[in-house]
Structure formats: C-alpha cells, structure tokens
Amino acid sequence: MSTITPGPLLAVEKLQKHYAQSRSMFLRTQAGVVKAVDGVSFQVPVGATLGLVGESGCGKSTTARLLLRLEDPTGGRIQFDGKDVHGAVGPALRDYRTNVQAVFQDPYSSLNPRMRVAGIIGEPLSANRAISAGELRDAVAEVMQTVGLNPQSAQRFPHEFSGGQRQRIAIARSLILRPRLLVLDEPVSALDVSIRAQILNLLMDLQEQFGLSYLLISHDLDVIAEMCNEIAVMYLGQIAEIGPAAEIVDNPRHPYTQALFSARLPAHPDGVSARIRLTGDIPSPLNPPSGCRFRTRCPQVMPVCAERVPPVTHLPNGHLASCHLLNESVVLGV
C-alpha cells in the first residue's frame, strides 16, 4: 500500500465551485452566482491528516463533494497522485473512485437498513471487481476484523448495532477497496463522548497500518486539534488560514481563526477565557463583502479591508494566512 509517491497524494489548486442562481422559480434568468468554493488550495501528503474547519456554510462540505467527484468544479483543479481528477474517465475514473472513499456523519442514515452488514460492507467490492462469493465473504470478514467488528455478525442488520458499531461498519465499507485517501465528514459528531474516543483511535490505527491519508471535516475543534497534522480554516468559500496543527491551535494569526478557537469549551473551570465575540452571521456567499470577506464581522477591521483583498502572507513553519494585519506596510500606514 505504501507506494513511493513524490509530492503530495492530493493537491488542490485554486478550486472553485460557483452555482448560478435563477431569479425566480419559473424564469431561468440568472440573478447571481453563489460562490460556495472560491479559490481553495491545499495539499494532503501520504499518511497525513488535513483538517477542514469553519462555520456552517463556509464551503467545507462542497469541497468534499468536489473531491469525491459528486460535483464538477467551475474552476481550478484537483490532482490525485499527480493525475487530474476531473479529467479522468473510464478506467482512470474507476481507479480514482477506488482510491478515494468517504465516511459520513450519521451512521443511522448512511447505512441501508434493509441490507445485511455483509452486503453493505462488500458492495463496493462486488460492484467494482468480478470476484467469487467465497472471496467476497473472506474480504468482508477480514475488513470487519480490521475495524474491530466480529465477522460472525456479518449476517445481521444495521439496527442491531449501536451507533459506534455502525460507524465501524461505515468505516469497513470505506476500506474494503483498499483506498489511499478517506474523506471523513464529521465522523464522530453523532456519537456519544465515550464512543468518540474509540472511533478516533480506530482511525489513527488504520492510518498507521495502511498509510492512509485523511481529509477530516469537522466543526468540533477538539477533534480537529487531536487528529490533524495540518489545519485549514475556511470562511465564505476561501481559506483564511492554513498551517501545521500546532501553529493553528496555539498561534492562530487570522482574527477569524482566533475568534473560532476562542469559542472552544474549556477543559477546566479555571480555563474559561475571554472569548472573542463575533457579531452577526456569515454573509451570503451570493454577495460576499468586498476586499476581505471577513471584514463585516472582524473585531480588528481597518479601512483597507474593504478596498483590497488581503494577500496570502507566508509565516514561519509553512503557516499561511490572508489578513491585512500581517502586512506591516498596511498596518503602519506606509
């Protein structure tokens, strides 16, 4: 599984997804464009985890849908193992779909209640390869063991399992094709705290065992801080800040990241710290603010923020942030 790959496994460059909005239900005149994802770039190395955080509506799930090729981008590109993802057709596309799998939030709605567990887990394999019933049975048993399920329960139905076990079933299904990248969309948010740690540990074990790469989407900042090597903070379809996890958690430089992480719940009654309060909601992606998109809610907004789009500032340790505050000439009024 651990092939030698020069460069990142996944490279996303200036990714864009704009939706045309029609003016009314009946007339198909174009009224505006929803910029759900607007120029997003990041990379995921082999065996690493990139976390995508941001409030609802920031575009993180659209980014995941683009990666899974459930939608086509309107600009930019995604490369997997050096190959263009959205140009892929035929065997190349099949190959990509085999290599990139997803695990979703709610294991109560993501598993077909009328299928037996063996069918759910084995389906990607039987749909993609011509294999015998015996081989399929063995493959299902093996992957069930890998995720900590008893292979003897393969003939049972999803409702006979608890939430944590259901998420194990979903993970087994995503693993059976031996993918290299998993898109994890809120994989533990529907689970109880005592079960959460079990699933997070399983994901870490699997990553180590198979050299998997993860794109982890979550608005649980504790989970993100625990699991990720790198964190990208999204706001209104763009990346406000990206960098190594320790940098983003301990030394956030963008005011939005600072506000977001200050909303984390304390680990101790003494840890209750001053929270940076943001006023208002995320503006509509149909009509984003001029200049810096965060300026309408930013506690440190300056006149320049409305006029110019902040450039990306390169900070030490591969830490990038887009904010005028990081640009000395602007701050000093030079």
Partner: protein
C-alpha cells in the same frame, strides 16, 4: 410565588425520582430515571451531564411533567418552592410552566413558529399567564427584546423568524423564556453537532439571562466543557442514576466515580498543548463497551461491565450514594477519596 421562599434558598428538590417508559404495549419497560435526588438553590446553575440514554433529558422533562408517550413517573417527588409537581393537578401545573419554570432549547427553530411574528411569540406567555394585552403588552415585549440584546426592538417586533439570523432567534426564544420572570430555567442541549460559535453564543445568552434575572438554571448537556464554562454544580448521570454529584471544581479536580474519571480523560483535544506537539498521534484513553440497555439493566452497578475497578460485589449489589464531602457524593463501592 417568590415571597415565601423556603429555608436555605432551596428552589428545587428532587427526591428519589423514578420514571419509566412502557413500550410495546407494556412488554418493554425502559427504566429512564432510577431514583434520582438532587437539590438546586436559587440563582445557582446545575449541570446534568450524560450520554444518550443516561436519563438526563428525561429528568428535565419529568420536572415539568412533559412526558413522552408511555412514560410514567413511578415514584419520588419534585418539590418546587415546597410544592410537589408530581402530584399537582394538570391545570395547576400548566400555570407553573412558562411562568415559574421555563424551558429553552438550543435550536430556536424548534421553539418558534415560522408563521407568526416574533413579537407575538414573545407576547404569548405574558398574555396567557398574566392576562396582558394591548399597548402595555407590546411595550413589555419591546422592553424584553431590548433586554436580551436585540437592536432596534420596535422594528423587530413585526418580523418573522425567517427574517432574522440564528443568533438573533436564540435571543427571541430567550426573551420568551424570561417574559414571565421564571425562577427556574431549564436549558436542554441536543447532542447533535453545532458550530462552536453558535454554541458559545447560546451559552453567553444563558449566562446573560441568569445575570439579568437571578433565575436558577439547569443545563442538560453531554459535554463536560459546558459544565466547566457555566455551572456551579454538576450531576453526572449514568443509566438513569446520579453516578456523581459535586461542585464543578471538585468534579474536575477530585472526581471520585470511575465513570466521571473516564469521561474527563476521553475528551479529545483537551490535553496539554505540549503533549500534542510531542506525539500528535497518541491514542486517547477510551471507555470500552457500551452503555447498558435501560430495558435490561444489570443487577448491580450499571457501570460495572465497563468499569476497571469492578469486582463481584459491583456486579451483584447496587452501590449506595456515598457522601465524600459537603455536596460531593458518588454512587460507587470503591470511590476515589
């Protein structure tokens, strides 16, 4: 009420509360709350913490007797300002709900009707409980909207929920909750994932409402972080019982019940930053196994099957609540002392 306050400022006293849900025509008895007792003083904040199926939400619904289908209170008392809500006639209880005890849910759209103007929805409890109407009612609602931090309350009065932001709607629900000046507010937080910013706004609102009115607050949550942020006292529930009760600081610094200790250690991302840097992929401590089936509870301590400390006694005999210090107790045969 209010005037005749009971001794030591006790507002709510729950004694040996037992509540079960009779499902499948009575064939399956889900024992949701199994002998819960606690005391809440005026103006204090109590956190009731538990996983799904721990009985935390059923406890809050039992206090107001807003029971789901098939649910029955089988025993115990809920003394609110000295009156037992369990035995109170339904029409008397209706006069309590919203007036003396209010409830607030985290998702405002569960509580608000999209077809009515927000002002009218805030006015409803005042009209029902205090017979207010006309200009006086309108003036009072506008005052309340201003009090919960809604800018330009006069113009907001006539708006519909869809015209307002999520944070604003939370405040509308908050205004309705405090409209009749309740002595107790119960805030139930669902387990579903929420934006951290939305959750923080909600906790801010609860804190503001309490500071403004001096009401006592019960926060139902699955997150110990909420307790750390907001609560004076905490009850950790497991399988319908109080595993541990303690002032919040004691709970975090000297947890006595193995379940509380395990919960504190499994919180992801709450380790020291140095720890994370040294080893980003250190495994989290876990609690193996599953919470018990409330329709088939084991004979002894319900946590015994998952407890590292459990022995034969734990598996056969229910541990009593052991008092460890003032206001600190644990239901365990071998509490950490």
């Amino acid at each position: 009420m209010g005037g005749t306050s009971t001794k030591d400022g006790v507002l709510l006293e729950v004694r040996d509360l037992e509540m079960s849900i009779f499902a499948d025509g009575g064939n399956r008895i889900v024992r949701a709350v199994n002998g819960l007792s606690f005391t809440l003083r005026r103006g204090r904040t109590m956190g009731i913490i538990g996983e799904s199926g721990s009985g935390k939400s059923m406890t809050s619904l039992s206090i107001l007797r807003l029971l789901p289908r098939g649910a029955r209170i089988l025993g115990g008392q809920v003394l609110f300002d000295g009156r037992d809500l369990v035995s109170l006639a339904e029409r008397d209880l209706r006069r309590m709900r919203g007036r003396h005890i209010a409830m607030i849910l985290q998702d405002p759209m569960v509580s608000l009707d999209p077809l009515y103007r927000v002002g009218d929805q805030v006015a409803e409890p005042l009209r029902t409980h205090q017979g207010m109407g006309g200009d006086a009612l309108r003036a009072r609602v506008i005052e309340l909207l201003g009090a919960v931090g809604i800018p330009a309350p006069e113009s907001r009065f006539n708006q519909y929920p869809h015209q307002m932001s999520g944070g604003m709607l939370q405040r509308i629900v908050g205004a309705a909750a405090i409209s009749c000046g309740p002595e107790l507010l119960i805030a139930d937080e669902p387990t579903t994932a929420l934006d951290p910013t939305v959750q923080a706004q909600y906790l801010d609102l609860l804190e503001e409402l309490q500071q403004r009115t001096g009401l006592a607050l019960i926060v139902i949550t699955h997150d110990l972080g909420v307790a750390a942020r907001l609560c004076d006292d905490v009850i950790v529930m497991y399988a319908g019982r109080a595993a541990e009760k303690a002032p919040v600081r004691t709970l975090f610094e000297r947890p006595a019940h193995p379940y509380t200790q395990a919960l504190l250690s499994t919180l992801p991302g709450r380790r020291a930053p140095d720890d994370i840097k040294v080893d980003a992929h250190k495994r989290l401590p876990t609690i193996e196994g599953q919470p018990p089936d409330l329709a088939a509870l084991p004979p002894g301590c319900p946590f015994a099957p998952r407890c590292p400390r459990a022995d034969a006694k734990c598996r056969t005999e229910m541990p009593p609540e052991v008092s460890l210090a003032t206001d600190h107790s644990a239901a365990c045969w071998y509490p950490t002392t």
